[in-house]
Assembly symmetry: C2
Homo-oligomer: 137 residues x 2
DNA sequence: TGACTGTATTCCTATATAGGAATATAGAAT
DNA sequence: ATTCTATATTCCTATATAGGAATACAGTCA
């Protein structure tokens, strides 16, 4: 039963928050840290959990690991992600996370958010460092 | 986060099968046993788990405990149950369960399946015994 | 090269969960 | 009162999970 895999991934708050964020597009771990305000180990472990169950895909990009929802999704996963997106809209925690993400997206010059994977021009610098450089210029 | 409760209930095969069946209407434990072909303890424990998380409601009716999905369901539960019903249609295990349930429903003279809670007239006899009496007459 | 950054992994502990065997319980039948 | 039936509970064990501290590692920068 494939559904079990999906619901196992869904049944932890941190993982649900991560998935909710990834519904908006690929993200590196540092952004997840920044938004969730959770220890790095914790996030990293949950990402491992999700990876092991094919709930996310990873791509290394310089120092950063870019996590994303699978490109090819079965009918069941698709349906449940849609459902999740539906449900998270009414929960303050998820809404707050999305707002924090929006703030990051806005200040990012280029990046995963518009164009898929981090483009080559960004590879040399951390998204967060770029952001702070921007902010202070 | 209320969603977690829901997904915790969803992340075990036996519970998922139970919920899928209850989507068709209230059921007593013996019918669940009959359909799932799982040991009584196992079913009973999962029902406890579901009860503790307000995922099912119970009503005693003579010897039988009638389990049902909650009458009042929050938006999130409603959405997810709908999603579940969607997904189970493509999985042979769930389809098989529903067929087994349909067989039981067909041979039951009266009962929970059409009228909600077991009517008074049935209280004196086990649904299954009624069924076998019918079959052998 | 060495230092730094982002992320993963290892080791540990606490808690939750699944499941079986045996037993208890509540209500009905005799 | 005793027996029977449906279901729940207790006790036990094995495994999974969550999370933190410390450490490892891979890639980049100077």
């Amino acid at each position: 039963m494939d559904l079990i895999r999906i619901y196992q991934c869904f049944c932890d708050p941190t993982r649900l928050r991560i998935l909710n964020l990834l519904l908006q597009g690929p993200l590196c771990v540092c952004h997840l840290q920044d938004i969730l305000k959770e220890p790095q180990v914790k996030i990293s472990k949950h990402l491992l959990y999700l990876r092991e169950r094919d709930m996310v895909e990873v791509e290394r990009c310089g120092n950063w690991m870019i996590y994303a929802l699978p490109v090819k999704r079965g009918k069941e996963l698709e349906t449940n992600l849609k459902c999740l997106q539906d449900c998270t809209q009414s929960d303050p925690v998820f809404v707050k996370d999305l707002k924090a993400l929006a703030r990051i997206v806005k200040r990012e010059p280029v990046g995963v958010f518009n164009n898929g994977p981090y483009p080559a021009t960004v590879k040399a610098r951390s998204p967060l460092r770029i952001a702070s450089q921007r902010a202070s210029s």
